[in-house]
Symmetry: C3
Subunit: 334 residues, 3 copies
């Protein structure tokens, strides 16, 4: 058995044997899905025409047209119809960006109307963001509504789904929520792609007081990363509130990237550059990844059994990590 | 639908839809239950007459008449009978304080006798503290014994129950323990009201070494807060052992309050003032809460759909948080 | 009931009542099993003759003859046969050390061949190390293969089993994995004895970046300790990569010991001394333990009901902790 066969075998068996969470395999297996970088996740209120017009100049990987917290209750209809128009007309250029929409939560009573109006445009967003997911049931409800909303829609590609965890109970149930999201991805118009840690609602829920250093959130942040990564999902870190303090933002962004987060929410366009730099792969990491993949391909052709690289045995997780880094580097470099 | 209806709907639906933990709703729903502050939780050995007589001068929110660790095995009977006498005679004034009793653990073999003796007084304590809860089964056992003990008792009001989590296995099972406690609150003479983190036994169990900075307990503390708050329970932080170091106590108390703990155990009357200050709502927070509730009531009367306050959309969790702060402020201010 | 009876009762009842995890009792109950210290866990590649010959001079408590990451794919057979020869011939003196073998993971496709070859020696290793345990199923598979491999083997004593947790999903499932390991210990040729935190693979899996301070792993480390200790297992901490930085190693080792880890992986013989010092019981702790056990035995003989020591009520966990410290001290002192 050559190294390629071995690694491939190891990879497949690994997935097959992951018992309870067996549905991951087919999800992960779909190598056709490309990685969508979301280093900076920037919200633009759907009701704010001035801000919507600025989208082409915003450098964030992921632009979120917001129906939720950024929009007053009295202006929900306005937001929906502006977002619908924007999707329909294609007046605004999203090229190279993840064009996404945040609907209101399942419990708000506003979500169904959001879906009906926004998704009646002939062009769908790339990604949907669902806030305040409290239980697997919320995803069942959402999948159901999404299916019936899109019944008459011809969709070429599934939309990605990003879910928010923003309360103590939601964190407690996060493994079950992700598991259900992966299962539903098989049979619904969405594919679960990431988890956002909504720290402000979480702090309000547990009665914590936010600090810039965020020591009070250390467990919650590392736990969210662990659960998200266990299901091969992106993990989006908390907002840095003090948007004028770019040095504090840099420190927190690099810390989050070091913990394993793949991106970070931003509340101001001025935060984008610092954040995206922190979540971009470092040049020496990219070089390492390119050389590793090259070495792997060389060994595969020669049919050699042994495969070490820079003194380390190379296994499938490392190879996958290297490929992600290369893809991330190619997508995020201008 | 006006804002009030919407928020109310959102709140109720939220509870109803929280699937597995559905029993929370009726528990939470009982708005008649008032918030009992327990900023400082002070133990007084039931066998120590001199300390018992000092109770009126102790400023702690919560006075715990102790049958457990503060009482030698040879003096358990003495402690029970002194506590019984104290409850029966009402000689000591507990006004404004949570009058509570800590019995011995389910596994000690002493708990049933504690209940039988202490609760034979015609006046019951406000709150019972149950140490070393290791599994949901312990609560079943305790509920059972409590019911049979109180069979002939005319109780106007349920007692509150505070449980202690003090071992690795107890923390591992804490979500299931809290869930069972909430369920049992429906049908037994207690209402689960809080969780105490017993750090000394926990450290002995996992072989950790206590430091004043308590970095070795960072995960355990933040996890206990998260689980307790997921079930809308109070969370009581660890003891600061070095009772002469008031500055260290202040730092740890403020850190605990910042993490979301609602109070802290104290081992010396000299610790009460520092601790209660740290767990009291800050004046500007109280002002914010009062103005928010006022704004909510104004909007409700005018039937306006939109509701923002100081630039933020106001939702039900924030409104509830504001009400708790006001209640806490009114109860704790002298 | 004298103190001994009470403590014994309390201990037994405690185990019996720990409901779901009831199989722990018989496991824990076997007081015949002695504590095997593994303060420093040192890997020696099975394929490296030069390093194998150095074993007698290596001071580490636990020597791991490695078939896994330390051995290139092309040299797996060589490693297996060298390890087999070493066990068979008893040429190398392991006295006072835990003689153990790390096989390849269940998912590697190499594990069965490792077992067949290595365990065909007439002398078995004391301990087996199983890397990359991702689910309880892995342990079922491993128990099955081990049983059939040893069918014709006359084994006087069970081998100990150390499992590695090295991915996000593995950590998420760690309670279930440990529970299954304890259950399988009843009926298989292994007894689960410890958990190793494999931080490098974990970091690769979650995309974290290792730092010497390891703040990015604070949650994972403390969680692994808590789960391991909930099942009364040893917990082995991460490798300190920079093997020339002995001061950094000392700090991290003492931090790990303070968190409750019982030992630490080392990658270089030069790390052993610092690590073993950090994980050895401090002299004043040993003195405390000896006096406590003496006091306990005195009280037991006198049949006294009360039992306090240095101002603290003594319960069974403290007594057990004291005995472990004494045993550790006697085993680890030269």
């Amino acid at each position: 058995m050559n190294v390629f066969a071995l690694l491939r075998w190891s990879y497949k068996e690994g997935l097959r044997s992951s018992a309870k969470y067996s549905t991951i395999s087919s999800f992960q297996g779909s190598e056709s899905r490309k990685y969508v970088p979301r280093r900076a996740v920037l919200y633009v209120p759907g009701s704010d025409e001035r801000k919507l017009q600025k989208i082409p100049s915003l450098g964030a990987d992921c632009i979120v047209l917001d129906c939720e917290d950024g929009v007053a209750l009295s202006r929900k209809n306005e937001a929906r119809s502006k977002i619908r128009h924007l999707l329909q007309s294609r007046e605004i250029d999203f090229s190279g960006k993840d064009c996404s929409v945040r609907v209101n939560s399942v419990e708000s009573g506003l979500c169904e109307e959001d879906l009906r109006e926004v998704l009646s445009a002939s062009h769908l967003p790339d990604t949907l963001h669902l806030p305040k997911v409290e239980s697997p049931d919320h995803l069942d409800w959402f999948a159901d509504k999404l299916k019936s909303t899109l019944r008459s829609h011809k969709t070429a590609e599934k939309m990605r789904l990003i879910i928010f965890t923003e309360s103590a109970m939601s964190l407690l149930k996060l493994p079950a929520i992700c598991q259900r999201g992966i299962e539903l991805s098989e049979e619904t118009p969405f594919v679960l792609d990431g988890v956002v840690f909504g720290s402000d609602d979480f702090c309000a829920d547990i009665g914590a007081t936010r600090t810039n250093e965020a020591k009070e959130l250390l467990y919650a942040r590392q736990y969210v990363v662990m659960v998200a990564k266990a299901f091969k999902l992106q993990a989006i870190d908390l907002v840095y509130i003090d948007y004028k303090d770019l040095e504090g933002l840099r420190i927190q962004s690099e810390e989050g990237a070091g913990m394993g987060f793949t991106g970070k929410q931003v509340i101001h366009p001025g935060q984008v550059e610092v954040v995206q730099a922190a979540f971009s792969p470092k040049p020496q990491k990219v070089e390492w990844a390119r050389e590793l993949v090259q070495a792997f391909e060389d060994h595969q052709q020669q049919g050699k059994g042994a495969f070490t690289f820079r003194g380390h045995m190379i296994d499938m997780p490392l190879l996958l990590q290297a490929r992600n880094i290369i893809q991330m580097a190619s997508v995020t470099s201008k």
